[in-house]
Amino acid sequence: MIVGVLSLQGAFREHLRAVQRLGHEAREVKSEKDLRGLQALILPGGESTAMGKIIERNELREPLRDFAANKPTMGTCAGAILLAKDIIGETKNYLGVLDIAVERNAYGSQLDSFVGQGTVGRLHDFPLVFIRAPLIRSVSASVEVIAKLGEDIIGVRSNNLWACTFHPEMTADTRLHALFLQHA
């Protein structure tokens, strides 16, 4: 399978490595032409505002939206913000394809970043790394919650779209990538 990773800013190399470790071909996506021939796409962690500006200036919004509307796409942390329909406190969204409401930096500053462990879908003892993480405040009826930490929604799936507020790319555990790509 050929899997693209949006490579404008952030932890894209970690995702590329995870995809390669699972035996797939990984490609950097920096412009519209890089989307051609991809079977799945990952939007990495990083700074969503920075990525959003670069998406806008490079006229990537429509191509990415078209891709995510039809093909398997996973967003992690900042990537989840890019996919979300609603960003709390803001009037604009980025791709707006996933019917969830997210809140940026919901836990606070870097001093409030933390690691945990939990169940994601059918994956048990999954390492959860939260770095200035957003929080999924609400989801529509069509969106399935696949992971929670206490009361907090930290992972969702809606047909071809997957999103989580933690960083599966920051650990050696590639099970979530594998699960996503199995469905791709």
């Binding site: 404008l8 920075a50 500006k53 200036r57 606070g108 970043s113 770095i131 920051m170």
Partner: protein, 288 residues
């Protein structure tokens, strides 16, 4: 666990541009241009150079104002060795501390014991030994020192090339030679072993000090830096918003010469540069 999380935040900044800002208004311009973080300070390095005097941590009031203006991470500088300034910034709950040679040194022998803090630190380095000493003290991110406030990229290039050459030496050295190299570089052996194993620094390595154009940013990225800091280069130019956006763009598309040609057009005047040999004070010599 803190080290892992703090190194993780540095990883999230990769491929991005961290911009010096002196007020909330500039912070908003930087964020709108696509900065991945801002560095809050009272005077940009070129003004510190011009005005002289002792340069210290910024007024917390200013840092809080900047923190409230943006959602991207906020960094601020402390003087080398001034662990109380660092305690104060930690209490302000900003996201990152730069223990910086751009400010006047508070301790001319010792750096801050950064392991004692929860908050991440970035430090400057001119060579591999310096980088590994700072990592040994707990820095989770390294940047070239370059020569801040000059608009002259030559020192940043020298520092990056020196680190790369020294890392090649470490990689080629047989294991039994590492202790002698550790002595030569003045660096902890376990970190040399890690460099040999990884083929790079164990933390994110950014370019800083003298970058003024999109081409400067792309040059440092092509040399192998993970991202860039731009200090005086943006807000001392004739069109900060436009130049900031262009530098962000160049950092993303650093290997695409057609795009770089397009990005570099019509940006107005860059900051006036300084010849390194004519400087009265070289910041890079501070804190080794």
């Amino acid at each position: 666990m803190r080290t892992e999380l703090n190194r993780g935040l540095a990883e999230m900044l990769k491929g991005g541009v961290i911009m010096d800002v002196v007020n909330a208004e500039q912070a908003r311009i930087a964020e709108a241009a696509g900065a991945c973080a801002v560095m809050a300070l009272e005077r940009v390095p070129s003004d510190i150079r011009r005005d002289g005097g002792v340069a210290r941590m910024s007024d917390p009031e200013l840092i809080i104002e900047i923190k409230q203006a943006v959602t991207i991470p906020v960094m601020a500088k402390v003087r080398i060795g001034h662990f109380v300034e660092a305690q104060i910034l930690e209490a302000l709950r900003i996201d990152f501390i730069d223990e910086s040679e751009v400010l006047t040194m508070a301790d001319d022998q010792f750096h801050i014991d950064k392991h004692k803090f929860e908050i991440p630190f970035v430090c400057g380095a001119r060579n591999l030994g310096e980088a590994l000493r700072r990592i040994g003290e707990g820095a989770v991110m390294i940047r070239t020192k370059g020569e801040a406030g000059t608009g002259n990229v030559v020192e940043a290039v020298r520092h990056m090339r020196t680190m790369l050459a020294e890392m090649r030496r470490v990689q080629l050295a047989p294991d039994e030679e590492l202790m002698t190299l550790a002595k030569e570089f003045g660096a902890p052996i376990h970190l040399l072993q890690e460099v040999k194993r990884l083929g790079k620094l164990p933390v994110v390595n950014f370019a800083a000090g003298g970058l003024a154009t999109p081409a400067d940013a792309a040059l440092m990225m092509q040399l192998g830096c993970d991202g860039v800091f731009v200090g005086s280069g943006i807000f001392k130019s004739s069109n900060p918003a436009r130049r900031a956006a262009a530098i962000v763009e160049a950092t993303t598309h650093y290997a695409d010469k057609e795009r770089l040609a397009h990005i570099s057009r019509g940006l107005g005047t860059a900051m006036a540069g300084l010849e390194i040999a004519r400087l009265e004070t070289t910041f890079a010599e501070r804190g080794q």
